[in-house]
Each structure stands twice: as structure tokens, then as C-alpha cells.
Symmetry: C2
Subunit: 249 residues, 2 copies
């Protein structure tokens, strides 16, 4: 069995943010599996089969990849960002555990990538320069009560916070509730970054105070970063810098 | 003034994990500034001046970079991992705020990189596949009481936790205290990853239960990742996989 699976992080969008390790895996693959827009980033070539699939079929996609690799294919599952941060790596391991035991002999590699929060933070300055937490605001796979509990404890710990999947069309009310909790815990002066489609032609950034935020500032392509109590703005001609100092009292 | 500063993340060690964006910035630079082992990763060439400096002089290094850029030089400050995660980006902005106002006109870019926790998580599986927090265990720039408070709240939130700078020769006792707190909050069965020097020839990984951990399992080059209550191990012939499922009750 000479097949393998690599779960590869394509980064936030720009080709200049794709690691050479990922590029090499794509070059060696016989099959590319993933969500339609990510598979569309891989160039067609002879001997390569593209398997684009719709959103929310992560386990089917993972099972498909494992089946192909067990047949001797060289399979890359493409993720945006980093595959280990709210992306395909955990789904692959869930499918692996649920599958036949001979899959346990497969060669599986996770290839890290620039996850959205690092790209967004870099564009704005360094809001994650001190201790922080990372929360997926989607309640598809966990109860809302757990999200609320984590938000309140994270605020009490004075972590900066990076939010993935802040707001979808299917659940627009979750982000409004998040903002209410943050105002209660952090007050209206807390700084927030909205970074949309970072490193793509549609990129936009906004740095605002919590008191000025409205829920429609985020959509599915937005990374939201909430500062800690120490996060600051430096005003400049070229635009503001948002950063969190390295120290804390 | 045509100088600029880029703060570039070199990733955890392997050249295959350096983004093309960072490679291009290094190719265009006139000056490279950074901690000795990171500057040593940049090849000498005509027209390039290397400025290696010792550890713990981050503000001096940042001021040096700003001064050179204001003179028209093209300066890259090299960080390991990602510059925005416990690295040079925040130090640069601290120096910028403290400096002359004409520095505010300088062209400053932060170029993201593969931070140690993403590389370590990828090598072990996907322990950061659900909500998590990121804590610098060094008490150089913050009081120990704040670290302890964050550890307890993070455990109560059932976050996975990634620890940077878990243990140095100068403060060996902090990590032992951390383990005591984690045992109180999470119990002896909690899974922990020790990932040392990931992507370098000295790489080593260990996945252990909290009850079996001793403080000497971590040093300055170790990334420590503590699982959440749902983090699991898949045993395989090629070695165990550590991962956190996407869902939570």
C-alpha cells in the first residue's frame, strides 16, 4: 500500500502564503479533495483528479480520502488556513476512528498553513501579541451555552479572543448574542478588529470600539479579533495599528 | 524615505515551512535584524548586512530596525514561528510608540509564519481542532498570579491549551507549578503533548497523561499542548495520533 493522505493548509488566500511543503504535496498528488473554492485553487494537470465537494460534508470527504489512499492513491485534502484549526484535520481523524482497522496503517500527514487569525493579526498589527484564546462561534457542533460560558471565562481571564465563523446566514443571531456578552464583560471601549478576506482582492479591515460594533460587520469570510484590556491603537497616516503589548500587570 | 521594515516569521525551523512572501522580503532586504540563531538562517550575500543580537534585547532590536528604516534601509526583523505570537511584532510597536513621531510614516509590514503550536499540533494530529487558548508561561513580563488565574479559567472553560516558553533554566519552577494547577483542575487522565524542536533534526514528540508528566519533559525548545476533556488518542503502528474532535456536548 503506497498511497498516502496529506491534509494541507492553503493559507488565507494569497499564493505567497502557501508553504513550499504544501506546494510539493500538491505536485505529487493524484487526487485533490475539498470544499469547492479550495479545490479551485489547485491547477489542473494530467494525472490529477479533482474532487470538489460542497460545504458541511466533512466526514464524507474524509472517508472518501481514506478510501482512495487505501487503494494506493496519493491524496491531498485541501483546507483553507491551517488544517488543524477548525478545518479538515479533526474530521479526518473522526473518520479514521470510525473506519476499518486497516486504515490505521495509512500514511497520514498534516501540513500546517497560515491560519486566518495569524493573517488577520499581521495585517492589523499584533493584536495576538500576548495570551489569547480561539473560539469557533458556530453552534453547529456544540451547544450555544458552551460558547457563552467560554466567552465569559475568556473575558474574565483577560485573553484577547480570535473568533472563527462569527456569523452565517443560517445563524445570524449568534454574533449579536456574542456582542451582548462581550459588552457586559468587557465594556464599550474594548477594541475589535474585523478582517475580511485577508490577502485576497476583497480584503477589508476595520478597527472599532465595542460600543460602535453592529452584528452586520461580520460575515462568513470575516475573522474577528477582540483585544484584551491592554490592546492599543497607534494612529498613523497610513492607517491605524492594533497591537497588544508583551507585558501585563 | 524609501526604507521599510518587514517583521518576518521564519516558521519553526524547516525551510519548507517558510512562506514565499517571507523569502521574497529576505531577498529584497539590505539589513537583517534578530536573535542570533534566527539571523543564522539567512544566507549572506553582497549588499546584505546581518545584525545578530542576543536574546532579551527585543526593544533595542526594534529601535535599531526603526532607525535603519528611517535612513532608507530595507530592514527585515526575523522571528521564529509567527512574528505576532510571542515574538517581535509587539516589541516593534512598543518601540514605535515610544519613538519620534516621524517614525509613524514608515512602511511597516508584518509577514505571518507557521507558529510553533501549529507545527507541533500538525505533527501530533489535531489537538487544536476545537476551541483553545494560547499562554506564554514566562513570567518575565507578567506576574505569576495572572498566569495561574488564566490557567484555572482556561481549564474551567475546557479549552485545549498551547503553552509557549514552558520552562527556562532561569525559572524552572514555573512549569512545575503549572502542572500542579492542571492536575487540580483537569485530573490525572488529561492528555498532554510535548513537541520539541518540531521540523528540525532534533525533533521529538511525546504524548502522555498528566499523571505521568514530570517538569523536566519541557525545555525552552518545547511546545506543550494540553488537551481539552474531549481530546483523544488513536493508537497506530506508526505512532499515536492526538486529536480533539470538532464537536462538544
Amino acid at each position: 500500500m503506497s498511497g498516502w493522505i496529506a491534509v494541507a493548509g492553503l493559507g488565507p488566500g494569497a499564493e505567497a502564503l502557501v508553504t513550499p511543503e504544501v506546494t510539493q504535496a500538491l505536485d505529487q498528488a493524484t487526487d485533490i479533495i475539498g470544499y469547492i473554492p479550495y479545490v479551485a485553487r489547485v491547477a489542473q494537470r494530467p494525472g490529477l483528479t479533482l474532487h470538489p465537494s460542497d460545504n458541511r460534508v466533512e466526514l464524507d470527504r474524509a472517508t472518501h480520502a481514506l478510501t482512495l489512499a487505501a487503494q494506493g492513491r496519493r491524496v491531498v485534502i485541501v483546507s483553507s488556513g491551517d488544517p488543524g484549526v477548525f478545518a479538515m484535520a479533526s474530521a479526518l481523524f473522526e473518520a479514521l476512528e470510525a473506519g476499518p482497522t486497516d486504515w490505521l496503517a495509512l500514511d497520514i500527514q498534516i501540513l500546517p498553513g497560515i491560519t486566518a487569525m495569524l493573517a488577520a493579526a499581521a495585517r492589523a498589527g499584533a493584536p495576538l501579541g500576548h495570551d489569547f484564546c480561539v473560539i469557533n462561534l458556530s453552534d453547529n457542533l456544540k451547544p450555544w451555552a458552551l460558547i457563552e460560558r467560554r466567552l465569559r471565562l475568556a473575558a474574565q481571564a483577560d485573553f484577547a479572543m480570535a473568533f472563527y465563523n462569527p456569523r452565517s446566514k443560517a445563524r445570524p443571531e449568534g454574533f449579536a448574542r456574542t456582542l451582548t456578552i462581550l459588552r457586559e464583560e468587557c465594556g464599550d471601549d474594548r477594541l475589535i478588529l474585523f478582517a475580511r478576506a485577508v490577502s485576497t482582492p476583497e480584503e477589508s479591515l476595520a478597527i472599532v470600539r465595542l460600543g460602535q460594533v453592529t452584528p452586520d460587520m461580520a460575515d462568513m469570510r470575516t475573522m474577528v479579533i477582540v483585544g484584551s484590556s491592554l490592546t492599543r491603537v497607534i494612529e498613523r497616516p497610513a492607517g491605524p495599528i492594533l497591537y497588544t503589548p508583551r507585558w501585563s500587570q
